[in-house]
């Protein structure tokens, strides 16, 4: 039995450097939208494009597979590879020489303040540390866009506030389009420039929180 039955029908554009939050109740279609952008779910009809490149155009029967979109994704539960150490998780999507990969992975982990945990496996990391590894991993491919699905929901309330601020600072510096899903209006206001509220597959309201590219903390 399907949990919900409605058509996902919406249109969104995110500018480079802009952070758009999709808010709304669970089951509204927010995650499905992220999956469509990443290429993990194929809609019956629709179009996804970045700059001049078309990732999906069902009318033209064009579809770029997920592995060739270079679209960074931070999954809700982080989806780190449990058998790989933190640096190997980060290096997974990197090209180039083996030696260089390790250095670059550790450098990325360092940017998130967890270079010391390079050898640790996800099972021994805290929620906050896992989130940072997941972010580092998503960025290691130098993605053209970054998608985050409830990036803070796996954290306990104690670490959540600090992680929120950290993520806010970090996202503000990214020069690529960022699309993030959250069910918290407060979190959307903190992390995004613009928020679109999705209900039953449609955008019911859209609000600019600050001019895109204005990265002042509020």
């Amino acid at each position: 039995m399907p949990l919900r039955e409605f058509e996902l029908s919406l249109e969104l554009a995110v500018e480079p450097g802009e952070r758009l939050a999709l808010a709304g109740p669970s089951g509204a279609g927010k995650t499905t939208l992220l999956r469509i952008v990443a290429g993990l779910t194929r809609p019956a009809s629709g179009r996804v494009a970045i700059d001049e490149e078309v990732w999906l155009d069902t009318a033209a029967r064009r579809e770029v597979p997920a592995e060739r979109r270079r679209c960074g994704v931070v999954f809700q539960d982080h989806a780190l590879f449990p058998t790989l150490s933190a640096w190997r998780n980060v290096a997974y999507g990197m090209g180039g020489q083996r030696r260089g990969r390790r250095e670059r992975a550790e450098e990325l982990l360092g940017r998130f303040g967890i270079a010391a945990l390079a050898e640790a496996h996800p099972g021994s990391l805290s929620g906050g540390e896992r989130q940072r590894v997941a972010l580092a991993r998503a960025l290691a491919t130098e993605p053209r866009a970054l998608l985050l699905d409830e990036p803070l929901s796996a954290l306990d309330p104690g670490t959540r506030r600090e992680a929120q601020r950290e993520l806010q600072r970090f996202l503000a510096e990214l020069p690529i389009p960022v699309l993030l899903v959250t069910h918290s209006r407060e979190e959307a206001a903190l992390l995004a420039d613009r928020v679109a509220v999705v209900e039953r597959g449609r955008i019911v309201s859209e609000e600019a929180l600050r001019p895109a590219g204005d990265h002042r903390d509020r």
Partner: protein
């Protein structure tokens, strides 16, 4: 459960009977054969040949089962298609099929007058009364054990992991090799242990399909029966049996250690079990 309660006592008695019944025959073999007699019996060329043949054919069969079975299990665990339940039941059929029936079925399919017999002959292959036939019989009876476990292990994988790999640029083969197989390795290892154990003990299908030719198709279980049927051959049968028990136990222990070892490397798997 309190052991002093009525049911607790009953369960304790049941557990004692179960363990004793399963362990006693194994212990009896070693009680019945002294190390000296064991070595003597193993000194015979036919016994050594049979053991060596069992090892070679079962290893080759396992190689075939793993190389073909692992991607096959991966596909069957991922894809939902019409008739999937039927396919899964069909590949599990050899599990419950009497071994003699398996031998007859193999003859009907691959024997000289079998369905594919002509093709096999045209290809210049010979299976019946050949060592290759033993390998075919072992693959047939042991593969379902492997496939069952591997399919279940792949199906239990967190679907987000392959998806995460894809967003990081991994194509289907890399996802399979670096995410799916490592994630399912415990199920794969236990499936391999079960399949190998089954292959080492294989008797009926091998006998009917490949025969029992010393040095060619007479594996250790067939040699045990051959010795047992020979007047005064019981000692040799006992000795061979003892070796097979040790080999089977080593496989079981090896696989369990492998699983435990990995769990230490990967604390997440420890929590998941």
């Amino acid at each position: 459960m309190r052991l002093r309660s009525g049911f607790g006592l009953l369960a304790l008695v049941a557990a004692t009977i179960a363990v004793a019944f399963l362990v006693l025959p194994v212990v009896a073999i070693f009680a019945d054969v002294s190390p000296g007699r064991l070595l003597d019996a193993l000194g015979e060329t036919s016994a050594r040949e049979a053991l060596w043949l069992s090892l070679r054919t079962s290893l080759l069969a396992m190689l075939i089962v793993v190389v073909i079975g692992t991607p096959a299990a991966y596909l069957l665990s991922l894809r939902r298609f019409r008739g999937r339940a039927l396919v899964l039941t069909a590949i599990e059929l050899p599990l419950v099929m009497p071994p003699a029936v398996a031998g007859i079925a193999l003859l009907a399919a691959l024997g000289p007058n079998g369905v594919l017999g002509g093709w096999i002959e045209d290809a210049g292959l010979e299976l019946v009364f050949q060592t290759a036939g033993v390998v075919v019989a072992l693959v047939f009876v042991s593969a379902p054990f492997f496939l069952r476990q591997a399919i279940a292990a792949f199906a239990a994988l967190d679907p987000r992991l392959p998806e995460a790999a894809r967003t990081l640029g991994a194509g289907p083969f890399r996802v399979f090799a670096t995410v799916a197989v490592p994630g399912a390795r415990q199920g794969i290892a236990s499936g391999l242990a079960l399949a190998w154990g089954r292959a080492l003990g294989e008797f009926g299908a091998t006998l009917l399909f490949a025969g029992s030719l010393e040095g060619v198709t007479q594996t250790a279980p067939l040699a045990i029966f051959s010795e047992f049927s020979r007047p005064g051959g019981f000692d040799a049968a006992l000795a061979l049996s003892a070796v097979l028990i040790v080999a089977s136990a080593l496989i079981l222990i090896g696989v369990k250690l492998l699983g435990a070892d990995r769990a230490i490397e990967d604390p997440a798997a420890e929590g998941a079990r």
